[in-house]
Structures are given as structure tokens and as C-alpha cells.
């Protein structure tokens, strides 16, 4: 842990300013609300996605050789925070973070084909891992069987974020071994149009974002669709777990900041018993406690991003820590914000509910609280 990881440099401060301004202007919460009310498809703003490309955000994790900026996780994390703060709906996380992390293990040809298109925000990718109630890659039952110069896929992936509209899918499938083992897992890139319409079932989930169940039954893909080593995906998934944990924590931090600001403001303006409710000590102490939790979380999230950029030994610990704490604090601040607003807190009219729903939708993805607490314990030797 270095002190510098706890401070933002000029470049980062500039980026944060730019991201905050752009998203506040182009994608305020009201835009997400409108999209939800009108049930727009796709469930993100395509023009905004192009702007993500123009701002260079889509290329932050992409090496310069493929047209990226290699700005790193500190930068990506800032964008995620601002996305959380404004409840932005975007293929950014699935495409520019999760897919890019996995594609780094792909062949030179695959990288040359996809990365520049991602940087230009001309394509979107979804990563299809989960099959059951939560994240458990070792239980992958979808198989890829080699037949001549093709792989034949069997089975169904569920709750795939971005799966309804992405142009490419990265699929975790079993090439050997049996359910329950991390060995024998492989990753494949599949063009979404290899699936029939009937093989994509779009889902309506609490956060009203794009999710789908995807059946890969009978889909054939060339050998070149393999990403990295056959049977070697376990290690790539572990890396993805770190990255996804750190950035979902960043997004949750943005959500929590927005909720807390709303709460503190409300405590100052709402009056009961002839006094602002924020003058009641019972509420003051709960607000102060939330503040301490949020600031501790911020330190941990900043450290997790830095640990990824510096490829520190401790990075898995740092990322799991950020994820556990972000989920804990988001639950606290989410429920307290609703409670401290009284009746209006449970109405759809208030944005608070939208934030709360986005926050709970982030619970199972790439490992819930139990998963990451357990991972932290194992990594610590107990």
C-alpha cells in the first residue's frame, strides 16, 4: 500500500471533471427514467455510447498498439463512479472492461479484429458466465466439444448482462473435466448472430437494464474462436473477478455518494416538530455513521484500482475487500436513505428507488458478498 495510490494526480482529476460534466449533461438520471418509462430498445443510448468512444473511455484498458490509451484502472474506475452517480445505462462495463480484460489473452488476430472496434465504440461485447442463481464458474455446465476444425456448443447461459443486444458474446464453456472443477474451462468468442432469435430470451430485471438468457445449443464456431489456452480459462476468470469487483465497487461508490448527498440535503430541508429533521440527534448519528462507512469505502476502492494498475501481489485481497465493503455500504446507505425520506422514500417519483434498484442488481455479479468474503479468507490463509 503506497500513499500515492490514495491521491489523484492532475490527469485523474481532469478526467473526473470531464466525466462528471459529460454524464451530468448527456445522461442525467432523468434520461434513464425516460428510457425506462418508454421501454426503449436497446436499453442504452447508442449516441451516448459513441460519445464514450470519442472521449477515449472505451480505450482506457486497451494497449496503445490497438488504438487504446492504456490509461488504466484508475481512469476506468473514475468513469464507473460517475456512471453510478448518474445511473448511466451503457454497454461500457461489459464491453470496455470485462470483455477487454479477457480479450487480452486472445490471439493477436482476434485482438486486432475487436479491440480497435471497441475503442471506436463501434461494437459491443457481453460476457456469458453465469448459469444459476449466482456466480460459480466452477459449476459451468455449458460444454464446447471439438469436432474437426470446429467447436460445437451445448447448454444455456443465464442473466447475461448486455446479452440482449451485444454484437459479440464471450462464452465460458467446459472443454474437459466435470462440473465443480475450475480445470477444463475455456473461453470462446461468438458472434451474436450465430444465435437464432429464439435462442435469446431477454429478461426484465429490477434495474431495467439489458439482460438475457442465451441458449448456445447447436452453435458451431471455428477453432480460432478460442480465447487463450484451451482449459486455461480458470486463471483468466480469476483476473476478471478482480477487475469486475473493483469496478462494480467504483460504480456502487458513485451510487452511494449520490444517495448520501440526497439524504443530507433532505435532512436539512424537511421539517417536523417545527425543526429540520437533521437537527434530531438520532438521525445525525446515523448520518455521521454513514459518512464514516462511505469514507472508509472510498479509501478501499481507490486502493483496489491502484493495486490493479500496479499489478500488486495483494491485488486480489484489495479487490475482494472493495467489493464486500461496497455491497455492505450500499445496502446501509440504500436502506437508510429510503427510511430517512419517510413515505416519499418508497415512491417511484423519487430517484432514490432507481438508485437502490441499480445497487441491488449489482449484488450477484462476479461474486456476491459471501463469495468475496470467503475469497478474502482463503487468500489470507484461513
Amino acid at each position: 500500500m503506497t500513499a500515492m495510490s490514495q491521491l489523484m494526480g492532475d490527469e485523474e482529476l481532469q478526467l473526473r471533471g470531464a466525466a462528471a460534466e459529460m454524464l451530468r449533461k448527456e445522461s442525467p438520471v432523468s434520461a434513464f427514467r425516460r428510457q425506462r418509462d418508454d421501454d426503449c430498445q436497446p436499453r442504452y443510448d447508442a449516441a451516448l455510447w459513441s460519445q464514450f468512444g470519442a472521449m477515449g473511455w472505451t480505450g482506457m484498458l486497451v494497449p496503445e498498439a490497438h488504438g487504446g490509451l492504456a490509461f488504466g484502472h484508475r481512469g476506468v474506475g473514475l468513469v464507473c463512479e460517475e456512471m453510478g452517480r448518474n445511473l448511466v445505462a451503457s454497454p461500457f462495463v461489459a464491453t470496455a472492461i470485462h470483455a477487454v480484460t479477457l480479450l487480452a489473452h486472445g490471439s493477436e488476430a482476434l485482438q486486432a479484429q475487436l479491440l480497435p472496434a471497441i475503442v471506436a465504440a463501434e461494437t459491443t461485447v457481453a460476457v456469458a458466465v453465469d448459469e444459476g442463481r449466482g456466480f460459480a464458474p466452477q459449476n459451468t455446465a455449458v460444454t464446447a466439444v471439438r469436432e474437426g476444425d470446429e467447436y460445437l456448443l451445448h447448454g444455456t447461459k443465464s442473466f447475461v448482462a448486455g446479452g440482449g443486444h451485444a454484437q459479440y458474446l464471450i462464452v465460458l464453456a467446459r472443454t474437459s473435466g466435470s462440473v465443480g472443477e475450475m480445470q477444463g474451462l475455456s473461453l470462446f468468442i461468438v458472434p451474436a448472430n450465430a444465435l437464432e432469435a429464439s435462442q435469446r430470451e431477454t429478461l426484465n430485471m429490477v434495474d431495467q437494464l439489458d439482460y438475457a438468457n442465451l441458449s448456445f445449443e447447436g452453435v458451431r464456431i471455428p477453432l480460432s474462436a478460442l480465447i487463450g489456452e484451451e482449459g486455461g480459462a480458470g486463471a483468466y476468470m480469476d483476473e476478471l473477478v478482480d477487475v469486475a469487483a473493483a469496478h462494480s465497487a467504483s460504480e456502487l461508490l458513485g451510487i452511494v455518494d449520490a444517495l448520501f448527498d440526497t439524504t443530507v440535503e433532505y435532512l436539512k430541508v424537511r421539517e417536523q416538530f417545527d425543526a429540520p429533521i437533521g437537527s434530531f440527534q438520532a438521525l445525525q448519528h446515523r448520518a455521521a455513521l454513514m459518512f464514516t462507512r462511505i469514507e472508509l469505502l472510498r479509501s478501499v476502492v481507490l486502493d483496489a484500482r491502484a493495486a490493479l494498475d500496479e499489478v500488486r501481489e495483494e491485488r486480489a485481497i484489495a479487490c475482494s475487500h472493495a467489493r464486500v465493503m461496497a455491497l455492505e455500504v450500499a445496502q446501509l446507505v440504500g436502506t437508510e436513505t429510503i427510511q430517512m425520506h419517510g413515505g416519499i422514500g418508497v415512491t417511484d417519483e423519487l430517484d432514490v428507488g432507481l438508485y437502490y434498484k441499480r445497487a441491488i442488481a449489482l449484488r450477484p455479479t462476479y461474486g456476491d458478498r459471501s463469495y468475496h468474503r470467503d475469497r478474502y479468507a482463503r487468500l489470507s490463509g484461513y
Binding site: 435532512l267 437537527s279 448519528h285
Partner: protein, 399 residues
């Protein structure tokens, strides 16, 4: 001087001057405390103290004119880190060092600084803090100890309580009421009292941990020369507030006392509970509690680093330091509770050879540390401060 150069110089000097025996944790009996009867538990402790004193590094941030180290805060932090790196003992303990000295530098007059600071640096007198009274704790400004001017002297009557090291100290810096008619905070003065003055009496108070850390002090017509008034009469509250900041900063940096066991919780868990066949800590609930506690500690540590990094940066968030006393002391208490759970019966020994030193210490620390969230402003008071100063919530509602 360049930071890296300074670090290098400090490192070399410590390497050459800190005796190996002074590079292990010191328990109470091995600590060197200031006082008129300054005593040393060993020749090495004396040697280490004298070398540090001659550098002024017993009080790194006091200007060299008064015998201190003359370091800026950043250099002082480097020194502290380098000492920690080799496990060097604090060469000298005294409440005057970390509370009174900064206050004298800020509010004292030149005569007071010249008289008191060199003694503090050299450990020749010990100080205690006389703020709290039986009727004035969290509401400190309600204090009643009276000081009435009589010629060149004040005559002091009243009682102080919870005074740490009150029975042993040579001098007390304290708050007294000089104007009972004025609003609470505007009638208070900051006075330095020689504890050997006639009329001062002291009684130790025993704590749940068995120690007598603090005392009750009574003043009966104690005569104090007016030159011992720091800052102006009736403006003692400003001094007190400045000093409290140092106290809270110190307490939030407090990384455990002299009694803290030498094991970490993780080591203790592996040792006392052990792993099951799958390599997991054999008690699943304790494993969960240990994860939570380790995460909490890590978060506090990272936040402390963020506070320091911000001090050095261009735009520190002034709200952030306000949480540190609360989060560090509450986390420490949780850690102590968990340690006791981990040790089971072995963590319940009061004294005797049937228990290891660590086991006995663990229990005493559990009991002593309950004071961490009371002394220096209770946790509830810290939350009041956060809600008022960090969140700017309106005041004056039901409490």
C-alpha cells in the same frame, strides 16, 4: 533537505545509535517516562534516551531554539516511520510532549516557552492534563474549578477527575473558571500548576483493567503565580480546543498500547483454533468475524494513509480527519473482543504463571481499551462533531 536524503540520514543515524535491546516492544515497566525523578529500566534505555534527547528527537517538531528536533511535520513523519521500521522504542513518554508543547508554541509567551519547553524535551518534568471534572465531562465547558485573582497570584479551588498520570506528574496544565458571570466558554482560562504546591491532593482511581491509570485531584486554596497563565485570561477555551485537536490526532494514530499481545489475530486464530481438513479455520463463525475485522482494520489503515497523503496534496478534504478518532478506536475495541473470543479460557487469566504473557495482556488490553472511545471525546461526541462540522446538519433539535 531532500526527503530521500533526509530519510537516508535518519536511517543511518538510527542504525548506528539505537541499541539492539531498544528495538523490541517495551512493556509498561520498560518505558521511560518524564519526571523530576527520571529513572531508567536499563543502561541501554538511558543511552537511547540520551542520544535521542541530544538530537532533539524526543520532541521532533519543537524548534531547535528550545532543544527540540526542529523537524517539519513531514520530516517528523519520516523519522517516526524509520523508527517503526526497525522497531525502535519511543525514547520518552509524557503528556507534555504531545499536548502541552504544541499548545505553548501556539499560545504561550516567550518566557513560558523558554521556561517549559527545554524541560519537556529533556524529560525533566512530567505533565498531566486537568480538564475533566466530576460534573464536566463531555460538556467540558461546564467546568467549575475556580481561580480567583489575588495580587500576583490566582487562588484555585475545585476538583479534577480522570487525570491520567495524575498521581505521578510534577505539573498540570488545566482549565479553570476565571469569570463565573460570562457565558460558559468565555470565562475559562488555561493555567499551569505545580503539583507540589500546598493545597493539592491526589487520589488514585482503580480501573477495570486493574491499573490506576488516572486520579482524582483536589485543589484547596492553591496559589498559582499569574505568569503561569497561558494566553489571555478568559480565553483558555481557544487553547483547549487547539490542544484537543492534537489529542484526537494522537489517539487516532494510536496503534495499540504497550500491553498489546505480540500476535496478530490471524496468528492467534491459526494457533488457538487451527485449520480443518480443508485448510479452513475450524470455527466458521469466527472465520467470518475475522474476515470482517481484518477488512475493517485494512480500511482504517488505508484511510489514515489517505489523510496523510491529502495533507501533502493541494486540496485536502477537511472532513476526512474528523472520522479518524471514531473509526480507529471503535475498530480497536472490536479487535480486542475478537481476540478474547479466539483465546477462549486462555484469554481470561487475570495473572499467574499458568498463562502466557500475551494471554494475560490480551485480557488487560480488552479492559483498558474500553477507555479509548471515552477519553479525548467520546464516540458519541465524535459523531456529533461529524454531523455538525462535516455534514453541516442543523443544530438544536431533540437530543
Amino acid at each position: 533537505m531532500e526527503q530521500t536524503e533526509f530519510r537516508q540520514e535518519v536511517r543511518e543515524w538510527l542504525e548506528a545509535n539505537c541499541p539492539p535491546s531498544q528495538r523490541q516492544p517495551a512493556d509498561r515497566t520498560e518505558q521511560v517516562w518524564s519526571g523530576r525523578d527520571l529513572r531508567f529500566p536499563s543502561d541501554d534505555a538511558r543511552l537511547w534516551f540520551e542520544r535521542m534527547r541530544d538530537k532533539g528527537w524526543t520532541t521532533p517538531e519543537i524548534p531547535t531554539a528550545y532543544g527540540g528536533g526542529g523537524l517539519n511535520p513531514h520530516e517528523a513523519q519520516i523519522l517516526s516511520k524509520e523508527m517503526k521500521r526497525i522497531g525502535a522504542r519511543t525514547p520518552l513518554y509524557d503528556h507534555g510532549i504531545w499536548m502541552l508543547a504544541p499548545a505553548l508554541l501556539e499560545f504561550g509567551n516567550e518566557a513560558q516557552r523558554e521556561r517549559f519547553l527545554p524541560e519537556i524535551v529533556r524529560g525533566e518534568v512530567s505533565w498531566c492534563q486537568g480538564y475533566s471534572e466530576p460534573g464536566a465531562g463531555s460538556d467540558l465547558a461546564g467546568l467549575q474549578t475556580r481561580a480567583v485573582r489575588d495580587g500576583d497570584e490566582y487562588v484555585v479551588d475545585g476538583a479534577k477527575i480522570w487525570t491520567s498520570a495524575g498521581c505521578e506528574s510534577d505539573w498540570m496544565f488545566c482549565l479553570v473558571r476565571t469569570d463565573p458571570e460570562a457565558p460558559k466558554r468565555e470565562g475559562i482560562s488555561f493555567l499551569l500548576i505545580d503539583m507540589s504546591t500546598p493545597g493539592v491532593s491526589r487520589a488514585p482511581i482503580r480501573m477495570i483493567s486493574g491499573e490506576s491509570e488516572f486520579a482524582q485531584i483536589t485543589f484547596e486554596s492553591v496559589r498559582v503565580p499569574v505568569e503561569n497563565l497561558v494566553h489571555e485570561e478568559n480565553r483558555g477555551w481557544e487553547v483547549a480546543k487547539g490542544l484537543l485537536r492534537h489529542e484526537r490526532k494522537f489517539m487516532s494514530e494510536f496503534e495499540g498500547g504497550a500491553l498489546d499481545p505480540s500476535f496478530t489475530l490471524r496468528e492467534a486464530a491459526l494457533d488457538y483454533i487451527g485449520l480443518d481438513a480443508e485448510g479452513r479455520l475450524a470455527d466458521a463463525t469466527l472465520r467470518e468475524n475475522l474476515v470482517d475485522l481484518e477488512m475493517e482494520r485494512r480500511a482504517v489503515k488505508l484511510t489514515t494513509q489517505r489523510v496523510y497523503a491529502q495533507y501533502r496534496g493541494s486540496a485536502p478534504d477537511h472532513r476526512l480527519p474528523l472520522i479518524m478518532k471514531y473509526v480507529s478506536t471503535e475498530t480497536k475495541k472490536r479487535e480486542d473482543e475478537l481476540a478474547t473470543d479466539i483465546l477462549g479460557y486462555r484469554g481470561l487469566g487475570w495473572e499467574g504463571d499458568s498463562f502466557t504473557k500475551d494471554e494475560l495482556n490480551s485480557l488487560r488490553v480488552l479492559l483498558f481499551d474500553k477507555a479509548l472511545s471515552i477519553a479525548g471525546g467520546t464516540s458519541e461526541v465524535q459523531l456529533n462533531i461529524i454531523s455538525r462540522n462535516a455534514l453541516q446538519l442543523p443544530q438544536g433539535g431533540a437530543r
